[in-house]
Symmetry: C5
């Protein structure tokens, strides 16, 4: 996630970080070349057929509608993903607090909260397909970390391990039924947040939209030069490039926000949020607290 104050007007056009320009550069140049060719051929060689701008605008409204819809859907996914992680943060804190409230012994709390941290990292690892063994091992030890990561769904396995331990505490009488119920409830909420994130990760926007929107954008940009003939005069190339920037740019943004967990500039800062959870857990355990992650070069990973 990019964290920076909005740039001034002057610097605005030269910022490339987080910008979509690098990704759509080729398309913008293609549109520019096509427009120049069309304008020059029309001027020098033979008059080309024209498309009235009114006709293009019917098309443009439809395209705006498509892009707008896809953008809303992608942003909703991104924001829902952030909400789910916000819920995770709150629920891990509540879990720690409930252990305190229901008077679980410090040793047992230690073991349980370590496993909650392991759950967080395992969950992050599966969302980002990255190696989290070291992060998990730092909380539960190497052996346990390996064992967890060998399971089909390590995050789920971590929650089950917690449930197993709680059952043990209940058996030996250090947890009453009320505590058991309250903690089971918090575990269910954690599982719900986890499944929500997995849903966003494994279910992209329907592929058919990709095809429909991208094809329409290409067709639009291919027809545009013929519509600009004679209506924007010498602005034609500039205008075509700007329109290409707007439509291809929105499409590129959508592609990026659609997958909020991937480690891209506009993705969610899973590392930083995991650190937030770690800080809360270590605070609850009375341990020293690592500093919050800071953005590097405006980028929070």
């Amino acid at each position: 996630m990019i964290v920076r104050t909005p740039p001034s007007a002057l610097r605005l056009f030269f910022i490339m970080q987080g910008s979509v320009v690098p990704r759509i550069y080729g398309k913008m140049v293609s549109v520019l070349l096509l427009t120049l060719t069309v304008v020059l051929v029309d001027e020098m060689l033979l008059p080309l057929p024209r498309i009235s701008l009114a006709a293009m605008s019917v098309f443009g409204v439809a395209l705006s509608l498509f892009l707008g819809f896809r953008n809303n859907a992608a942003y909703d996914r991104w924001w829902e993903a952030r909400k789910l992680w916000g819920g995770l943060i709150a629920d891990t804190r509540s879990f720690a607090r409930q252990l305190e409230l229901f008077a679980v012994s410090p040793d047992d709390r230690f073991a349980l909260l370590n496993m909650v941290a392991a759950f967080t990292h395992a969950h992050r690892g599966s969302l980002r397909s990255c190696n989290v063994e070291r992060d998990i091992a730092a909380w539960v030890g190497d052996e346990k970390a390996k064992a967890l990561l060998a399971r089909a769904n390590p995050a789920d396995a971590a929650l089950s391990d917690i449930a197993h331990r709680l059952a043990g505490l209940r058996r030996k009488g250090s947890l009453d039924g009320f505590a058991q119920m309250a903690l089971a409830d918090t575990l269910s909420r954690l599982a719900l947040s986890q499944a929500g994130c997995e849903r966003i990760q494994t279910t992209p926007l329907p592929f058919v939209y990709s095809l429909l929107v991208r094809r329409t954008t290409y067709l639009y940009c291919a027809l545009l030069p013929f519509a600009l003939l004679g209506s924007v005069e010498w602005f034609a190339p500039v205008f075509a490039v700007v329109v290409a920037y707007v439509f291809f740019g929105l499409q590129a943004v959508t592609n990026e926000l659609e997958h909020p967990f991937e480690p891209r500039p506009n993705g969610l800062p899973l590392d930083a949020m995991s650190r937030v959870i770690e800080r809360s857990l270590r605070d609850a355990l009375g341990k020293n607290i690592p500093p919050a992650l800071q953005p590097k070069d405006h980028l929070l990973s």
Copy 2:
């Protein structure tokens, strides 16, 4: 559900899988022929009356609005359906975990979780109107599977069977009131997700929208050639086909997403999600775990 990386610009126009083109091919050709006829008659035989593009654009805005609304509504159904299945996945995992947490004996857990798997398959079978007897029998045996499927609502019957077993456990003292309450709660959530899916399955978008939107689209495409006369010159046929693609295409997408449970290319991968649940349940039972379903030819069923 189609799972593939977005194709490059070059291949984009030749992908037919997941595309709506095959389904609207006939309509696109009809619009093409109509436009050619109108243009040729106007050119060769007698000048036809024209519709100004400004008039068409009033119409076009209204049509965009209709299609946009229907598209939003259909996508919302699709995404809500996916959310409900995500809830099912989380709640079956929580159910397994609560059995562990409330110290239910392995034998009883075995019987209960088998029935949870049967619930999943029975639910999927009723959403897809497909035969799931073998899938259910693999978990609870042939006899029980037949008995379940003979009931009015097999998925509901599976949940009731679970409730019946839990009542038995309570009677013989191996479940306390807290466990009973927590498990009853999880069962209620499963029932809510099930009823939500049934709602989406049995309640299509109001039929009146179908009529209104489809009629309007046909009228629009029939009037369009007369509006293109003289304003897009030789592009008329291309332009008409592209507009037909955009409007009929969006309509076809909507029809597909409106029924998210049907086994179509853009439908939800119920088989794969059932497998996810099976994997979690077998993991909870300590059994060997079948592999996750992989997309075949980019298609996850």
Copy 3:
């Protein structure tokens, strides 16, 4: 609710069922006659003032916005109403299941579930303002049915009767505190769904929108012929009728979906959904199960 497969293109224009055409027929004819008059007077008698189409399109965008808003709001009401009934279905099933789970005796379950069925019918009766005495009497007997329907809010009275019986069970010791709490929770959810339906029934969309939208639509259609003069040539009458169809049609759809409980073609199938609940309850009681309601002439009541 109309249940039918989308008609083919050929038959599409001749389907009247569920269509809004019968209701807006008069308006379409009026617009046609007005347009013909304007065109003929302008052609034969004296040139009439014209309105530029660009001016009309400013107006058209605003009108689309109004109609789009009202349509969204009406559809949301319709779909929320369906969700509330879906919740009712799930919660009546959960109630039956909880009685099983908390080991309520068959006789008591019989009495309680009969009253749940009475609640459903009483609720439907009040939403549709129809006579449901026979339906209720079939479950709880004539006398009790009459007594219930004599109450200020029969559905609420049925829930209170259930609470009263549960209190009795608790007093004689056949229900523990956990069961009481879980069942109280389910009753609260039923009451919430009921109040939600009553809210939709008693609170129409603000009247002021009706005025604003309808007046704007009339003004638009009255000015339209003057805008079509000279811009759509001989298509003027056709065009005006199509636009009237689109705008008046959307308005008529909205009026119908705004009141989702009324027994209209596009209303919700309360009878069929009550039957779904009856089937679940009779299944839970081990009784023979009536068939699901089938659409008659594509119509599910």
Copy 4:
């Protein structure tokens, strides 16, 4: 709230009740006079500069967007307010039912439900800034009513009084822990609905929107006559008034729905909904039931 069947086309234009026309009459006349002046000056004295309609339509799209946004936001507030009151209705009924279910003695129920009614009226009084002392006194007596209304937040104080009584019941053993917990939950929900209503009441839409939208509307209507010159001929005055009606009208609607609790024609019928709660409470107490409030001159207060 206005309750009436939609008027026929003929009467539609003469209904003033609930209409926004009376409030925007002055603005419509101003626009009319301005347009007449501009047209006459342009015709008789000197040709005035013109604005092309295409330029106005860029502006018009932006204005539609603003008005549409504000309208959606205001309607959402109105409908959320109605939902919160629907929740209040359901929860007061559930509270009464839980007292029955948990076997609270008739005398205690009487005292508790009287206080629930007092809560409802106190809440309504604070939302409407109206005097509700008589309504409260009718349930809990003059003295208690005065005491409640002297508190900082009378509705909150009523809920605290209920909590205090329930604590007393628990102390003397006529309420068990389960009942206490279930009733505490219902009280929390009532408090949540109350705080939700207070939120809508005390937090208007951001003031900046008011400025931006109103200024834009005025500017638009001031520039409009210059755009109508020569494009709508003799329709200019009619057209300008209609556009003013549409834009100022939508703005006036928004202002009214933004504050759903105020006693305006399109506000929520708090009196009628309080009566619904009173009827339920009196029914639960076995008392005679006052009639539901009826709309007076189509108006439900």
Copy 5:
């Protein structure tokens, strides 16, 4: 938050408070100067190329779409933030009420509610990055305030302190399991609201939108003068300034609402809402109640 009745039409244009004009003044002047230059050069020196307004309107629709999306997203953040604080208000009241209901002794209630107030202030302090030590110290004493604020997350630490105290009460038998569970639930809700506010605070809208929208707006305003040439005659400068006001203004509003907790004119009144909570808590403790905060110069901080 600005609290004032909408100004009359005459004063509307001279209100600067809460207006975005001061912030976009420079941009409006730049657009004005650019337009004047373009118009004068075109008139006096050499005819400049023109852009047809139809071409600009394609662009304008896309820009409206962007701005509309960002505005909706920002308003949703602002309103969600307000809802979360509304939940905080309701839940602190419910917490106080539950202490009463579960018969916690006055001394313990005093200590617990003081800490709830400390939580509120610590939460506000972290959202606004302002010094709240005095506010906290007024409730829990200097030492405790310092200790809290030294923790990594003071608000979270306050909730943990509450949990710790409740565990102590349970140990000495003055709290039963039911109370513990109900209070744990309320604490979880408070933690959820807190994490929700932190989410909004730490996660701005994706930076890429900022770039895309701002760049597009600048480009639009830079091209606009060339589109106005010859189509709005002498209105060109006025028109350009108005369009700049509309587009830059909406953008400035969005930037402000995007960060609802910052102490800006259109931000949320965190001080006033904290006071509302303080009033409720002091009322619950039977202490004298400070007056509600009043807007100063129409501004509620």
